[in-house]
């Protein structure tokens, strides 16, 4: 029974791995529910923000914010890339990086430089290796990110835009479609592009207190931040569901391997017993 003991050890080790992946699957499943709730909770703010902005676009205000103006000449672009902190979540990060790198290659072909802002450990590790100029970074946001932690990172990019260092700003993150599908999405943050519905056509404007510029500046800044926050929260929901799926298939695979190994083990065992019997019979025949 040469291989039997080794096979038994192997089965044991695969079983242990299966236990771990099973546990991770269940943890991810429970976290996913919470992450989805958080995603839903952040929705009203984004909606109200959009309403206020569309009102503002209709108001006849003489101050035009730089984020609303398109710069025709693009010399350098900025990317905010949101990834997970931890791995073992299938191809979630890889797919997103692929999408981002594809688009970045287009810019590089046109000889346009790229500044990066990474959120999450995986993206900073990836882009530190890949050619990329990381100007700001945040990681370890945990499962319950607060907007406070994102302010600094986003401000670096907004400042770069204000100073004319970058002429476009994009946000790369995963979009949560449902538990089974998450798709990488690249969204243009600045200049703000969006549908403006012109229902109210009569001439009106807000009263601004204390002054037009600071309010609109504050509003635009919060708008961009809320978009990034939304991306982060959504990405966590994506991470959890992707991990759940990945761990589920890992558990299933481990089950398959165990089954196969068990068959091999049984055959080896049977073979050795058969051999033993034939040896005994042959021995008995020789004696009698």
């Amino acid at each position: 029974m040469a291989g039997a003991k080794e096979i038994r050890t192997k089965i044991k080790s695969v079983q242990n791995t299966q236990k771990i992946t099973k546990a991770m699957e269940m943890v991810a499943a429970s976290k996913m529910r919470k992450a989805q709730e958080r995603m839903r909770a952040s929705r009203p703010y984004a909606e109200k923000m959009r309403t206020v902005l569309s009102h503002l676009a209709q108001a006849h205000c003489e101050y035009k914010h730089p984020y609303l103006q398109r710069r025709d000449e693009v010399k350098r672009v900025g990317y905010i890339v949101i990834s997970t902190d931890r791995g073992l979540c299938g191809g979630l990060n890889t797919n997103m990086f692929k999408a981002a790198v594809n688009q970045m290659a287009d810019w590089q072909a046109k000889d346009i430089g790229i500044d990066l802002c990474t959120i999450g450990k995986k993206s900073s590790a990836f882009f530190a290796r890949f050619s990329g100029n990381i100007v700001a970074q945040t990681a370890n946001l945990g499962d319950q990110p607060s907007q406070e932690e994102l302010i600094g990172t986003v401000k670096v990019m907004l400042d770069a835009y204000d100073e004319g260092k970058i002429d476009r700003l994009y946000l790369v993150s995963n979009e949560f479609e449902n538990t089974m599908t998450q798709t990488p999405a690249i969204q243009q943050l600045i200049p703000v592009s969006g549908e403006i519905d012109t229902e109210l056509d009569h001439h009106w404007d807000y009263m601004y207190e204390p002054d037009t510029k600071p309010i609109i500046d504050a509003l635009m800044m919060r708008f961009i931040e809320s978009q990034v926050y939304k991306g982060v929260v959504e990405n966590i929901a994506c991470e959890m569901s992707a991990r759940m799926i990945a761990m589920k298939s890992a558990t299933d695979n481990a089950g398959d391997i165990i089954k196969e190994l068990q068959t091999i083990y049984n055959k080896a065992r049977q073979a050795s017993i058969t051999q033993e019997i034939s040896e005994i019979v042959a021995g008995a025949a020789a004696v009698s």
Binding site: V52, H55, S124, Y206
Partner: protein
């Protein structure tokens, strides 16, 4: 019946209040404002302070906001509350921190270490699979 308006108080992390009220008080930048229905459109920044709403039944409710934006439309009042205390210098220092982290990450060879570690683990796993295949053939 008293005239009413819709009030929404939201922060990035959650919806705080949504309802029909007769009056709202908010700590605007230039001093507290009281808003009643059919107020002229107004946009203002908020200071940290207390927002009070008086519902149709005359009940008063208070909420703390740490700053934000107040938008008034004749029948809708929206308060976009901040979740954090905001000030130019605090934002600035947060931005500097983020930059410092980026520089550390660029210099950090730990990520290369991770790569090397992952690679060695991969080689080990491949070897294990090979061994398994041989085992299977042996049977």
């Amino acid at each position: 019946m008293a005239m009413t308006m819709q009030v929404n108080i939201v922060s990035a992390e959650q919806e705080i209040y949504s309802g029909t009220v007769t009056q709202v008080f908010a700590p605007a930048e230039m001093g507290e404002v009281g808003v009643m229905p059919r107020h002229a459109p107004m946009l203002s920044t908020l200071k940290a302070g207390v927002v009070r709403v008086i519902s149709q039944e005359g009940e008063e409710q208070t909420f703390f906001v740490s700053g934000g934006i107040l938008e008034i439309q004749p029948h809708v009042v929206t308060i976009l509350s901040d979740t954090a205390l905001r000030a130019a210098d605090i934002d600035e220092s947060a931005a500097l921190e983020a930059k410092a982290r980026a520089e550390a990450a660029m210099k950090d060879k730990a990520s290369d270490m991770d790569y090397a570690k992952a690679k060695s683990e991969l080689i080990e796993a491949v070897a294990q699979i090979e061994a398994l295949k041989k085992l299977r053939k042996k049977k």
